[in-house]
């Protein structure tokens, strides 16, 4: 019968990784390598933690187009798009791959960078302290996780809309985001009563903050259901 | 492997193929012949086309169908086929040959001489 099957989601994940193995290996290898490179250049192991966090954030932009690879393709991706998987199941895979799976693999990558850097004789610093900092950096601050998921869900949304002019869409989205943040902070400065307001309604702000990726993923699902794979 | 000649419809060529196999003795009377699907897959023809051939063969009493088992060569099929082909020869091929003979001025004596030799 039709319906929804988590097993199918699992199989889709397995097939996706089997089909794109090389791409993912390169993706995470790059994510591991750059912090190590910085550590080598500065001879300071503490930079690995900071760079790890930075790569975690940057990778969130790129994980969506890699995950949603089959929506772009000039007609050659027909086979994947006719695979008997419902849109809801596909969306489940997209959400999991750009949030939970990504966070786990990024953390693993971070620890790999750390281990590699630690193994280098000329890099100085306290490895234990660094590990703790890295762990804290990735999982200690829930705001960072949510922030990364806001970026990846936003990317998913962009990829759901814009099939062809992806880079332009990213630039536009980025510009809009910058404008929004600038406008918001500008408004907050002008309306000084905001400062008192925040203390009372901090929990509202936190809830809204956590709901943003949920809303973005849900909106992306709606877009995917309505859009066609027009080639 | 069959390659199809021009002119005759494919179902007709399958019909002729079955007749040839019966005449040659490859398919003996009262024995089971290949199913529609098997023959279709063997020669690369739409099974519905083969079915049409089989239906015509059946109505011409060359084969018969035993429900659930398959098609069998009818009794006396060989002589029957020869009879049909003889009729076709006398009504179609021979008159055409005669017309050609007249066109080429072949005399009856020349024909009789060749007929006796062969």
């Amino acid at each position: 019968m039709g319906g929804y099957s988590l097993i199918r989601v699992g199989r889709l994940t397995a097939k996706h990784y089997a089909d794109h193995l090389r791409r993912y290996v390169m993706f995470y290898a790059l994510m591991a390598f750059i912090p190590v490179m910085f550590a080598m250049l500065t001879k300071d192991i503490e930079l690995v933690a900071d760079m790890g966090t930075f790569m975690f954030i940057v990778g969130a932009f790129a994980i969506a187009p890699v995950t949603m690879n089959e929506l772009r393709g000039n007609g050659t991706k027909i086979l994947v798009n006719t695979l008997p998987v419902s849109t809801a199941e596909r969306m489940t895979f997209i959400v999991l791959n750009t949030s939970v799976i990504y966070s786990l693999l990024a953390a693993a990558t971070g620890f790999v960078s750390l281990s590699v850097a630690m193994a280098m004789p000329f890099v100085a610093g306290n490895a234990g302290e660094c590990s703790a900092e890295m762990w804290h950096g990735l999982y200690g601050r829930w705001e960072l996780q949510v922030f990364v998921w806001i970026i990846s869900s936003g990317s998913v949304m962009i990829n759901a809309f814009a099939r062809k002019r992806l880079i332009e869409s990213y630039i536009v989205a980025f510009a809009v985001m910058v404008l929004l943040i600038w406008g918001l902070s500008d408004a907050m400065i002008r309306m000084e009563w905001h400062v008192e307001w925040r203390e009372c309604y901090e929990w509202i702000a936190k809830t809204i903050y956590c709901l943003v990726p949920v809303v973005l993923y849900a909106a992306a699902y709606v877009v995917l259901r309505r859009r066609q794979i027009k080639w | 492997m069959m390659e199809f000649s021009e002119g005759k419809p494919i179902w007709r060529q399958i019909y002729d193929l079955v007749c040839t196999r019966i005449l040659s003795g490859e398919w003996t009377e009262q024995s089971r012949i290949v199913s529609v699907r098997e023959l279709a897959a063997d020669v690369g023809v739409n099974p519905n086309t083969v079915m049409r051939s089989y239906e015509r063969l059946e109505s011409d009493n060359i084969i018969y169908n035993r429900r659930g088992i398959g098609f069998f060569v009818a009794e006396g099929a060989k002589s029957h086929i020869l009879e049909i082909e003889r009729r076709e020869f006398l009504t179609e091929e021979l008159p055409a040959t005669i017309r050609r003979m007249r066109l080429l001025n072949v005399t009856l004596d020349e024909f009789t001489m060749l007929f006796r030799e062969k």
Binding site: G2, D19, T82, S86, K230 | -
Partner: protein, 273 residues
Amino acid sequence: MIDIKQLTFGYSSHRNVLTDITLSLDGGHIHGLLGCNGIGKSTLLKIICGLMRPTAGSVRVDGVDPSTRRVDLMQQMMIIPEEFSLPSVSLSSYARMTAPFYPQFSREQMDYYCREMMVDPAEKLHNMSMGQRKKAYIAFAMACNTRILLLDEPTNGLDIPSKSVFRRLLAGYADDDRCIVISTHQVNDIDSLLDNIVILDQTGVALSATTAEICSRLWFGAVDPAAAVYTERSVLGQIGVAPNTSGEDSRLDLELLFNAVTADRESIARLLK
């Protein structure tokens, strides 16, 4: 099985690729979809798959709209596109990852098709020639045993012996419960397989008839120019299409039929009524 009613589709809002197509493709037949380049045959197949939604009109496969992407319907539909990309793995690996999505897949059948078409399932797909890769995918696709099989230019890129093998395998695949649609220009490669012909042109469906109907109403070959609906010059002289007044059938010549329909659609349609 496939019911298309007044289907209209265009990639952009002001230009339609398909206009007012009404068509019925039943199971138990191998349908031929013919038409000039760019007429929209591939697009029609993609719409049947549910990859695109019509701008107007409807498509129903087994009563279901394929663009709803219902899994049970997709499990019964397989398309072999003209061009496709496969991951850089062997056919065996590809089958291992993809077959679980198709409940009726049979590994034995895939191996059989591979043996017949001389494809090595252990060889990496990217190391194969285009023709070999196509045969490999055909082997996999047919082994999925779906009720609906859509093929877009399947013999393109296949060498002559392979075309013969392909014909035999597809003839064996046909069943009362299966609907096979072949879209092609290479009519000579597959004409023995077809029993229903659909010709598309700019006005829509120029012809939709079974080969039996066509052969009983029309005569192909040497014709009397006065009685003929269409004639053309050939090596053998004047050949063409004429009303079939004899009791016999001639061999259906798809190229002649296509040219005749392109030249004079109404006369042919009238004769087939």
